[in-house]
């Protein structure tokens, strides 16, 4: 799906992605202090190209509908954690 740069930034803020340095291109999704996933957080100038947005969606382990809902707002941090738990990226322990 096509993604505006500000939409991508909003998503990554919502997921509380940790970025170690302002010049870094990638960030880390943490759950209870544990690094779970890494994803692109920097997208240069202009809108995010469609095929790049697809790759970001893949890094976040979301299907197209879940990614759309993440961008449009119904999915927040807690809902995202539940998705990752259901897919086995976050363990119960």
């Amino acid at each position: 799906m096509q993604l505006k740069k500000r939409e991508a930034e909003k998503v990554l803020t919502k997921l509380q992605m940790r970025v170690k340095s302002t010049h870094h291109k990638t960030g880390t999704f943490l759950y209870e202090g544990k690094p779970i996933l890494r994803a692109r957080v920097s997208f240069g100038k202009g809108d995010v190209p469609g095929n790049v947005a697809d790759k970001l969606r893949g890094q976040l382990k979301l299907n197209e509908q879940q990614f759309r809902e993440l961008v449009r707002c119904p999915i927040g941090y807690e809902e995202y954690v539940e998705i990752l738990k259901a897919k086995g990226y976050i363990g119960d322990a």
Binding site: P35, R38, R40, P49, N51, D54, K55, R72, Y89
Partner: protein, 139 residues
């Protein structure tokens, strides 16, 4: 939105099904669905043109060296995207060279960050670190 205005005629059935998608909240507007369809067609077209696999042998950095070639998929499209699924990492740019440079930078960032937290990683990143630490050495 700036751009070219297009007028089109579609069948009643297609219009009705499209309206249902909008009412279901999957898309906010008819225009977005059309734009999505056009972008999808462009992506499919890129896929038909074909992606290819190349080997990267140098991370283009003085501090890290590959011990084995790193195979990446180069995909043409709206942007050139270079991907390695074992590392769950991609880079992109207007040209293949830019995309490879961007990819190498992302791999290096991952190396240093995962190394720092190697004892506290979730299962997905632990698997990536296991692979990354085998194929990358510090100079």
């Amino acid at each position: 939105m700036a751009g070219t205005k297009v007028t089109m005629t579609i069948s009643d059935g297609l219009y009705s099904r499209t309206q249902k998608l909008i009412e279901a909240g999957l898309f906010p507007s008819f225009e977005e669905i059309v734009e999505y369809g056009l972008r999808r067609a462009l992506a499919d077209s890129a896929a038909i043109q074909g992606s290819r696999v190349i080997a990267i042998q140098d991370l283009r950095r003085p501090d890290l060296r590959l011990t084995a070639p790193l195979y990446v998929t180069v995909e043409p499209g709206e942007a050139v995207v270079v991907t390695n699924s074992d590392l769950d990492t991609f880079g992109y740019g207007e040209t293949e060279d830019e995309a490879i440079a961007d990819f190498c930078e992302c791999v290096a960032e991952s190396y240093w960050e995962l190394k720092e937290e190697q004892d506290n990683l979730g299962p997905h990143l632990a698997r990536i670190w296991a692979y990354l630490s085998r194929i990358v050495v510090e100079e």
